[in-house]
Amino acid sequence: MDFVRFEDVSLAYQPGSPFAIEDVSLSIRENEFISLVGPSGCGKSTVMKLVTGLKPPSKGYVYVDGREVGGPQKCVGMAFQASNLLPWRTTLQNVMLPMEIVEPYRSTLRAKRAEYEEQARALIKRVGLAGFEDKFPWELSGGMQQRASICRALIHKPRLLMLDEPFGALDAFTREELWCMVRDLWQEEPFTVVLVTHDLREAVFLADTVYVMSKRPGRILVRREIDLPRPRDLDVTYTEPFAAYVHELREHIGHIRES
């Protein structure tokens, strides 16, 4: 059974305006890690809005967990290129934010605050932010902010994690550290991931399946399964098969940009 399924989905943001994505069909297994790559403005973020139910499709159907999406999904965690941490909250308070909103945590927060905070602290420790729980966002580096942002996306144990270019603004070394962090989180307690990115190495390193999208209106042009053994180490990025995948995807992108 597919966890997320798109059936011939098109979306125009305004009625009558051109489609942002057109006739997109894809299916994602439970606990699969997929990546969407493509030139800028190809509607990758639109796919995110459709999966999370923030936008209804203009045509076609979107199913999550066997049910048609009709409104915001509660089993979703999101993280973006900007960490969007609230500057008046500490790391711990930021990570706790979903617990104040998502049921069943929300109604039991008063009684079980200590327990939930313990979970948050444990998660913060797993992403390597131990000791920074009570710091404010501006006291954290960009990479640390992104770690906290991903904690916030995962604290309510969503079954689906949406990552919209989360490492786009980071330097190369920090980016690779965060790849490994996401890989470990996912490997230890699997969940379904949709990663939108410009970085082909990132897509190949992390994903089970990479989808290449065309220019506007975005369509799925290529679906490529990445058959690299897991767990993957950073060293894999210097191997021949890895380079072949990246090269192949790069060629597809090149064709799209020329067309």
Binding site: K49, P72, F80, A82, N84, L86, W88, L97, S141, H156
Partner: protein, 257 residues
Amino acid sequence: MLSQNTLIRLAPWLVVLFFGLLWEGIVVAFDVPAFLFPSVSSVWHSTVMHWDPIMMHATQTFLTTLAGFAIAVVFGLVVGAAVGSSPIIYKAFYPLLVGFNSIPKVAFVPVLVVWFGIGTIPAILTAFLISFFPVVVNVATGLATLEPEMEDVLRSLGASRLDILKKVGLPRAMPYFFASLKVAITLAFVGSVISETVASNLGIGYLMMAASSSMDMALVFAGLIVIGIMGVAMYELFALVERKLTGWAHRNPNGAM
């Protein structure tokens, strides 16, 4: 040798002292008649001599201003929250608000006098009318500039509009709100004094009108200076509150990692 910090702390006092001396010097040097432009020393002399009435009228003006300001803050918060969180309300009410704000409030005082008689009530209302606008605009701006990604994060968690307003919108608008309080309190003084000069027999505005009609310019200037001092004091108070409550928005860049 004075340290940099001491110098910064002393600077505003030194500027006041400088202009005080300049004022005194000009009046003495050119022998300006006191009924046109009194010297600092004669203003000071007049202040001491009329201390009790000045204090009585200043208290009246102060309380009137605070009452109008308080109404403006509550009104401004409610209207600002409504205008800032709904594009429809924003579109519908903004022209009206801007239009109203363009009316000189002194032109409105006679209307208030017809409705409420002379005295404290028109002064409170004028202070309110003149000072609510910056609160509305700032609270609305704070709410309307919420990052769409943040809203997506919250909505994808199933947050209601009220949740978003409480968890993110209002806290985020607080620095804007406190910044507007500093502007609003000084405007509120303008409003109450305007009304007192036109239609009251109490307050600093009335005191100045009475003094100028008897050519007591020293007392008029004493009134002006008292208003200025009250304005600065309240401004500083709200600046302090702002720094205490929304320090996260005014952090020292050197303190960041």
